[in-house]
Point group: C2
Chain length 445, copies 2
């Protein structure tokens, strides 16, 4: 009999828990759901066999006690807690699985993890996660045929389902709003295009977008992620001429978002004076030159060169409420925190809203002197506010990988990513039974 512990049972763990509960019930395994708030863990429990526990992440002793006796720990905690959990797993000899980025600190444990014959699986959610699984399957298939990869582009977006796009941005927060507000900040974007290294500073990222058409879902625009070159080596693409990774939004989003970037309203590096007293309108005015009589609207238009007839852009800005006299009311706030609070009032999902995940890869390769292009796309719509596409696409790959670990079907050891056929083949196959299916098309180019 095996024991599995899930740490963190929030919204994103819904599908993961449902899957693991069913699986553990079938095999008479012990599943424990642990959360800082016991009620949250309790609300996710469906089976009588499932156990509940509360976590105190500030106490290593209590955490160790909780981990003891388990065969596998799945951490859905915020990424900053993973390292402590990993160290305890190492000490206690427990496998670990997360959907978070493999940190350098985690990677440093690799030799020790291997020497203890353990598996610490990272980046096995959506993005990172399904992007790795699906990309590696395509890449390795091409390689097996003798093809040589020349270009790799990949975009993912967490959006709202088409019938719920009821604001001019066609966007709502379906994931951590702070990450959305800070997206692209913190350093220049790097990528490679036809063997030329290219760099985009933060203040230009949202004006260098690419338009992509996804069958049945229309057009999306992608802006570049910071880390486009990061996976070259991992994917075995060291010689690829073009490598570009990005984020999807609906067309027009980036141009409007760029207004906030240009103003400096996404800056998270300093505290605004008197932030608790500022109205939305005054917040915007802090970034505009002083004038005794000119309106904030006109000053903004002039500063950002927004044409009088650019109705689409202007409608987006107005819809956020930035020109209203509402008070934000946060003391000692950064511009980014203020903007987030303003946007949360209009970009929060209604209970009836459904989210949507869109992923798209475009991979170029040569085979027998011919140039081919593979386009592969995934769209996943959420069912409701609790059964979101995000929770499904983050939780299911991780849950299926957990099953593979428990069934000893993964031979890899150490701190790994899900880039190996023994992981991606069965996970992708089983994801199809949940409706997570890529549509693939190969054309001569």
């Amino acid at each position: 009999m095996k024991s599995i512990l899930v740490l963190g049972t929030g919204l994103s763990a819904t599908y993961l828990i449902d899957y693991l509960e069913q699986y553990c019930d079938q095999h008479h395994y012990v599943l424990t759901l642990a959360d800082q708030t016991l009620q949250i863990a309790a609300s996710k429990k469906k089976s009588e066999r499932t156990q509940l526990a509360s976590i105190d992440v500030t106490s290593p002793e209590l955490l160790e006690k909780l981990l003891e006796g388990n065969d596998l720990v799945v951490s859905m905690l915020p990424a900053r807690f993973h390292l402590n959990v990993a160290r305890l797993c190492l000490k206690l000899g427990i496998h670990l699985a997360t959907a978070s980025y493999l940190s350098n600190e985690m990677q440093a444990l690799n030799d020790e993890v291997k020497s203890k014959d353990l598996l610490f699986l990272n980046e096995c959610g959506l993005d990172p996660g399904i992007d790795h699984l699906s990309a590696m399957q395509i890449l390795n298939t091409i390689r097996a045929e003798g093809g040589e990869i020349t270009s790799f582009e990949s975009f993912t977006g967490g959006l709202v389902a088409p019938d719920c796009e009821d604001n001019p941005w066609r966007y709502k927060f379906t994931w951590n709003p702070r990450n959305v507000v800070l997206a692209g900040s913190g350093g220049a974007v790097r990528f490679i295009h036809n063997n030329q290294y290219k760099y985009i500073p933060y203040h230009r990222v949202f004006r260098r977008t690419e338009m992509v058409h996804i069958p049945e879902y229309g057009r999306f625009e992608g802006y570049a992620n910071r880390d486009s070159l990061k996976y070259r080596e991992i994917y075995g693409l060291d010689k690829v001429e073009t490598m570009y990774r990005g984020t999807f939004r609906r067309p027009g989003f980036s141009k409007a978002w760029n207004c906030f970037v240009q103003l400096g309203a996404t800056d998270d590096s300093y505290i605004l004076e008197n932030s608790e007293h500022l109205t939305n309108r005054q917040f915007i005015n802090t970034f505009l030159a002083y004038h005794p009589t000119d309106s904030i609207e006109l000053k903004l238009r002039q500063y950002l060169k927004i044409d009088q007839d650019d109705v689409d852009l202007w409608e987006k800005l107005v819809s956020t409420g930035i020109f209203t006299d509402d008070k934000v009311g946060i003391p000692n706030a950064t511009p980014a925190q203020m903007l987030q609070a303003i946007l949360e009032k209009c970009w929060t999902m209604k209970p009836t809203d459904r989210d949507m995940i869109v992923m798209w890869h475009k991979i170029g390769y040569t085979l027998d002197t011919k140039q081919y292009l593979v386009e592969s796309s995934l769209v996943c719509e959420g069912e409701d506010a609790h059964h979101t596409a995000m929770a499904k696409t983050v939780g299911l790959p991780l849950a299926i990988a957990c099953k593979l670990i428990l069934e000893n079907k993964i031979t890899q050891r150490g701190c790994i990513l899900p880039i190996h056929p023994e992981i991606y083949t069965p996970v992708l196959k089983e994801l199809e039974s949940f409706g997570i299916v890529f549509k693939e098309q190969t054309t001569l180019s």
Copy 2:
């Protein structure tokens, strides 16, 4: 008999050393010139009485030995070395004077410095330095008359003399080129305008300039410094409605410089791939989208929306050589380092070139229900490549302050700035005899 030690004898110390040599000869004091490179110290020595020494900043023991027995240390070393020098001065009971910003670490020594009856004078060069002296004299004069200060604006620029403005930017490096390339970066600009706090992100700083006319010298444009609010308390201007500090360039400089900022060419946060192999032209192309045939010139124009007939701006860009096939040739360089190397080829002073310092204050105040405006400006032209206006305006205030310290005419103790009448009155008075004279004009507004 007193002993004075000058640490660092580079270009910026020329006037300081000349002044102190004369003064020490008169009073039969011992002056020691110390530099990492003994020849540099030797080249500055004019009097037989002056002693020479070499510094090894990596050895606290040698540095302590050098300092021992002196009554006053003047540090012209790079600012990062000041703290170690200050700690030794504290230990050995020696006064200290520098032209550098008072750091938090230095400020933390304040109580100890006071308790040992010592004076550590900071920010007594040009900017910071003469700006403090001249501003405080005007402010305190207004206050003495019963006036209330309502606004304070101050700009300083290190430029070239009008007859040496022989490139389209009307600018050359007359000081640390790295600081010029990185100017404004590292965080948002903050200032206050008519009681409204205002913020400008780095990528907008060079488009929010102010035009100023200086009699006989024509127009200058000023862009905002990051630290406009820093001196509110120090100057006693806590209730001032407008406070703005900035840097002068010739009109058109900022708009053209903004092209580099927009490209991301001033970024110092990452290393360019293959930087040692890039030509100037390829360096610029790394920031532009890939295209198999379009020219870099056209891509740049389109990206930065530079009109075909904006000849002035285009001429500036072309004059820097950014479109040439010259190789920069620096391995592991950041964009800012590459740009600096390119600009050093065209913005370096010729031996016959003379530099120029321009400082300007605009101070508003109310007195007897009337609104007044004081404009005070200083222009100082260099004599030649060695006797620069920069060296003169940095070195002389510090040298004169040293004299005051040696003559026990400064009663202040601790880590201070030259904002006290007992310092600024005699220093400004003596500066006049060197041709460093402010022109002041008060008008009803």
